[in-house]
């Protein structure tokens, strides 16, 4: 049984990783061939860094992801605090609408936002591009923040907030000193989640981008449609390396913290 499960896990991991390793290997290929490896080169990396379209769309992607995820975290955290104190029926209605962008296919969200922006553009001075991208990203990010924060309220003692006020805290201080620390883990994971979703989003950006800015996934899309150059493999490799480093560092920090907790708290498990 043990070996069987090990073999199975191995096969699944192979399925997941082989395509990525193929991409990486061919980023060092001398020729443009995608199936025959003919020699080692780093040229594609050099070309990648000289490619202004890629570099500028990468910058756009990062800027948009940072702005959108920060805005979404603020908006979403406030919303979660507010929604939590609503009565049952309005709460259910709001939560259901909040779920819409998650439940709905991305393409429908993208199309619906595109129609809205077209409507605004005809009447106001709205231009497709940076602003529409940021709005679209905030819109699909906020639900993830709310869904990450809401469960933290359920784990919290509902009387804590009132107790703090009874003990002389103003509502604002009570919020800052009592509620915020309790929900902080949810806020952080909501922020990280929306940041990664923003970085990676293609479908919604595809429908809401415009004349002034274009994100990296859209550039990649236009690259995969035309003369595919190993630059794209080089780009994949770099993205993969960055992701691995970030995740490994995160993992190490978490494991250390867990060990410390275990050492401090004794037998929590």
């Amino acid at each position: 049984m043990k070996t069987l499960s090990k073999v199975y896990m191995g096969l699944v991991l192979m399925f997941l990783y082989v395509p990525i390793f193929v991409l990486i290997v061919f980023s060092f290929n001398e020729t443009k061939s995608r199936s025959v490896f003919s020699g080692f080169t780093l040229d594609w990396y050099a070309k990648l860094f000289r490619n202004e379209v890629i570099i500028s769309s990468l910058m756009n992607t990062i800027i948009i992801a940072v702005i959108a995820s920060i805005a979404a975290t603020l908006l979403g955290t406030l919303a979660a605090i507010g929604i939590n104190s609503m009565r049952k029926v309005p709460k259910a209605i709001v939560m259901n609408i909040t779920n819409m962008p998650i439940v709905n296919p991305e393409i429908v969200t993208g199309v619906s936002l595109m129609l809205l922006f077209v409507f605004f553009a005809a009447r106001m001075n709205l231009e497709f591009g940076f602003v529409t991208l940021v709005i679209a990203h905030i819109t699909f990010d906020v639900p993830y923040v709310i869904l990450n924060v809401m469960p933290k309220f359920r784990q919290m003692d509902p009387n804590l907030f009132e107790a703090a006020q009874d003990l002389g805290c103003s509502p604002f201080t009570a919020l800052r000193k009592v509620i915020l620390p309790e929900i902080m883990p949810g806020v952080v994971s909501g922020f990280l989640m929306s940041f990664t979703f923003s970085l990676d989003d293609f479908v919604i950006s595809y429908f809401t981008s415009g004349s002034t800015s274009q994100t990296l996934p859209i550039t990649i899309y236009s690259m995969t449609r035309r003369k595919i150059s190993p630059e794209i493999n080089a780009l994949s490799t770099l993205i993969f390396v960055v992701v691995v480093i970030v995740l490994v560092v995160k993992h190490i920090i978490e494991t250390k913290q867990e060990q410390r907790n275990r050492a401090n708290g004794g037998d929590e498990e």
Binding site: M114, S213, R225, R226
Partner: protein
């Protein structure tokens, strides 16, 4: 026959490679490298000279920016060694920032403009799309006083069918559509190859086809002897039926992907644009390109300014800049399409100029090629409907009531589940 095309190309590549490294370094840092290579003709293109400095510098310091919307890989970017980075040069010269984005089809460009909310200053649509946009009042008439370099455009390309008074467009590139095929797999002699090879069952699953109604219909219309600009419903239906027959042997419907798939030997034969085809031949020497004898479509891509442009004069400056001989040469060298620009044509080496694929001569063009013009709305709609029908057709067409019935069943099931749950909840109470 094959070498005929291939040899001049080799010469071009070699020249590019030889001068490439020094050229790239020259734009980057110093004059030392430039001096060394100043004899070669490439370095002339590296140090940009323009006709009228005052014209270009008049917007300097105003912090203007223009939005340029172009096909992917359709401008010299300077990433390949030996070419100028056109947009960067323009910004350096004029102080105007260029926001550069790409589209993949004429229809995508049309949709983005038609949808509204986008402000482009320069676009480069193809012939039939230009006439459609003129008809729908989507283009600004150009002020040719601001585009003195228009005088470089060859007379053949002035006052074209799609823009009869030449009020809206400045030609950028042109070319013909032909067939690109793998000589090791296809043993029909080159002169016998015609469009019907795309229907040949011997090559089933090795054929790529255009994923674009206008181009695909043109091929079947030529085969059936119709005009590629036909608006006759009967002829369109017949052409669509011909395409439906072809579906069984087609491996994939693609556009730009043809480039990559043919280069990687993933398919044996595909229709493609002459300019791009020449670039693929560089990558894969088993490939060859032929323009079928029964005629083809001549396409022209031209620069226009769409309605709603906010920087019309700067846009005209950009168009004029694109018509500077050095820039036009740099672009055509990168794209490999044919140029309507006499200055750039003069700068090409003799072998390219005499290449019958790129420059078949005016007589040939008049006799064997037709240019697309816009079709009537009805014809466009019919073509569109026939196309989607053809692409989505399966051997048997399922009943159109399947989806509504499916939805009703889902609804019924849902109500059933809800009622059952309601009853169960009631029971729980007792």
């Amino acid at each position: 026959m094959k070498n005929h095309i291939f040899r001049p190309l080799c010469a071009v590549i070699c020249a590019a490679l030889l001068t490439g490294c020094s050229g790239a370094a020259g734009t980057g840092s110093g004059t030392a490298e430039n001096a060394e290579t100043s004899e070669t003709e490439e370095s002339e293109a590296q140090t940009l000279t323009v006709s009228d400095m005052d014209y270009y510098t008049r917007f300097k310091g105003q912090n203007l920016s223009i939005n340029v919307y172009n096909w992917g890989e359709y401008i010299s970017t300077g990433t390949d060694a030996g070419t100028l980075n056109v947009n960067a040069e323009f910004t350096k010269l004029t102080g105007i920032k260029v926001n550069y984005t790409n589209y993949a089809t004429n229809e995508e460009l049309y949709a983005k403009l038609k949808g509204g909310g986008t402000y482009y200053d320069v676009i480069i649509p193809s012939d039939y799309m230009i006439s459609k946009m003129i008809k729908e009042d989507m283009l600004e008439p150009l002020n040719f006083d601001n585009i003195p370099n228009f005088s470089y455009i060859m007379p053949t390309f002035v006052d074209p069918a799609y823009d009869p008074d030449n009020a809206y467009s400045v030609p950028y590139t042109w070319g013909t559509v032909g067939l690109i095929y793998n000589t090791t797999m296809i043993d029909i002699p080159k002169e016998d190859i015609d469009w019907d090879i795309l229907w040949n069952e011997d090559y089933a699953d090795q054929i790529l086809m255009f994923d674009n109604p206008r181009d695909a219909f043109a091929i079947s219309e030529i085969m059936m002897g119709y005009s590629i600009n036909t608006e006759d419903p009967v002829e369109l239906t017949a052409a669509a039926n011909k395409l439906k027959e072809q579906k069984a042997v087609v491996q994939a419907y693609v556009m730009d992907e043809i480039f990559d798939k043919m280069a990687a030997n993933d398919a044996w034969i595909a229709p493609y644009y002459a300019g791009d085809a020449l670039t693929i031949l560089e990558d894969n020497e088993d490939l060859d390109f032929v323009v079928p004898k029964s005629g083809t479509n001549l396409f022209v891509d031209a620069m226009c300014i769409p309605k709603g442009s906010r920087q019309k004069e700067a846009a005209e400056m950009y168009i004029n800049f694109m018509c500077e001989p050095d820039i036009a040469y740099s672009n055509i060298d990168y794209i490999c399409y044919s140029t309507p620009h006499s200055g750039a044509y003069e700068m090409l080496d003799e072998e390219t100029r005499n290449n019958p694929v790129s420059y078949p001569g005016n007589d040939y063009l008049d006799e064997n090629t037709t240019i697309f013009v816009n079709l009537s709305d009805e014809a466009n709609l019919q073509m569109q409907t026939l196309w989607t029908e053809m692409k989505s057709a399966e051997n048997e067409t399922p009943n159109r009531w399947i989806v509504p019935v499916f939805l009703l069943i889902c609804l019924g099931l849902m109500i059933f589940v809800l009622i059952r749950r309601h009853i169960r909840n009631k029971k729980d109470i007792y």
